[in-house]
């Protein structure tokens, strides 16, 4: 089993960066947390679901493509390890999928970028707030087990931004 391959490319002529052929961009903690706050605080829509669903769909699509194009990533465990490495190289934190399986389980995130950034820019929350990470987890587990986006849910039960030591997510089959 190999680790995640960093096949990232910079096309200097157009200033575009791609990861496994998909366009990626750099952004700041301030932008990402402000964007989250804006969507979340629109009180007459379900902002958290929008934030989570966007991350879930994109993670599932991108990881499915990556897994199928890498023949040595056949087992769900190797795929989730690869997803964890990608999460870390993107700069989102250290994510542990070792306690999740086909029927769900628990995922731990230490040093969470979104939680730390929220604390730094907006202060302590009353409720968990890692909606991107929840979506990423649900999408990654679905891709690892060759399921469709939406077949799993990831609900954050503890969050660093709400005072917990680490972020914890319950993953369930929907």
């Amino acid at each position: 089993m190999r680790d995640f391959e960093l096949d990232r490319e910079l096309e200097r002529a157009r200033n575009l960066i791609s990861q496994s052929g998909r366009l990626i961009i750099l952004n700041t903690d301030r932008y990402n947390t402000n964007l989250q706050r804006t969507v979340e605080e629109a009180s007459f829509i379900d902002g958290p679901s929008i934030l989570t669903a966007a991350a879930e769909q994109v993670a599932a699509e991108q990881l499915k493509q990556y897994f199928t194009s890498n023949e040595d990533l056949r087992s769900p465990a190797s795929r989730l390890k690869s997803a964890s490495a990608l999460f870390q190289t993107f700069g989102f934190g250290a994510i542990d999928f070792s306690r999740v399986g086909f029927n769900g389980g628990r995922v731990i995130v230490k040093d969470s970028y979104f939680a730390s950034s929220w604390l730094e820019n907006n202060g302590k929350r009353n409720t968990p707030g890692c909606f991107f990470t929840a979506g990423f987890i649900a999408g990654a587990v679905a891709a690892a087990y060759e399921k469709a986006p939406g077949d799993y849910t990831a609900r954050e039960r503890r969050c660093i931004s709400a005072g917990a030591r680490q972020c914890e997510f319950d993953v369930e089959v929907k």
Partner: protein, 209 residues
């Protein structure tokens, strides 16, 4: 830690660069799939339109541009300070015009595509275009981000006040052309905001029936 803008992507592409990452001039940078922002902003706009009506479409667009402008002006002000500290009187920060060029270079280093300066009237207005085929703007993603960044450049260089919080929204931006509408480039016109305060922080509360 100070990264020259031209070198920023190369620094961050280094495989040893992992979380917890060093802050780049106080900002924690992450890579994000461009598709994520596309899906998120489209879903947000759709949800607001479905709930509050099409009248709010422009308000949402302004709101998302404001998120970018407010965020980027802090990053640009920090970058100017770093450049001044490192470069002293080198040409990059010697004149306001040179600083504008430096910040455009910085935006481009984020992988957002090429920003072409069309015109600049110091302290008054700036016009930029983004037309790289295959750019993030092409993927319907970055019009809000680019618009906010263009306005933030003028805020940071010519804005009123000393701090980023003082300077933000000294300028306003209008996207007059867009690739999404079949035009050859996205064109952003930035002008001094004579109605400062009125366009900030549109409250997104439940509309009264």
């Amino acid at each position: 830690m100070v990264f020259p803008a031209k070198k920023l992507p190369e620094q961050l592409l280094d495989s040893s660069y992992r979380w917890p990452k060093p802050a780049v001039e106080g900002e924690h940078m992450t890579f994000v799939w461009a598709d994520y922002y596309t899906k998120l902003t489209k879903a947000f706009e759709q949800a607001v339109r479905d709930t509050a009506g099409p009248f709010f479409t422009t308000a949402v667009s302004d709101l998302l541009t404001g998120v970018s402008q407010e965020s980027m002006v802090h990053m640009f002000c920090d970058h100017i300070k770093s450049a001044e500290r490192v470069s002293g009187n080198l040409p990059t920060v010697k004149t306001p015009e040179a600083t504008v060029y430096m910040l455009i270079d910085y935006v481009e280093s984020l992988g957002w595509g090429k920003m072409h300066l069309q015109s600049l009237v110091p302290n008054e207005e700036m016009v930029v275009e983004v037309k790289s085929e295959g750019s993030a703007a092409d993927a319907n993603t970055l019009c809000h981000m680019m618009a906010g960044a263009a306005a933030a450049i003028m805020d940071a260089v010519f804005g009123s006040g000393k701090t980023a919080d003082d300077k933000v929204h000294s300028f306003k931006v209008t996207e007059t052309h867009c690739r999404k509408r079949g035009q050859s480039a996205c064109r952003f016109e930035v002008k001094r905001n004579n109605n400062r305060g009125a366009t900030q922080c549109i409250p997104m509360q439940q509309p009264k029936s």
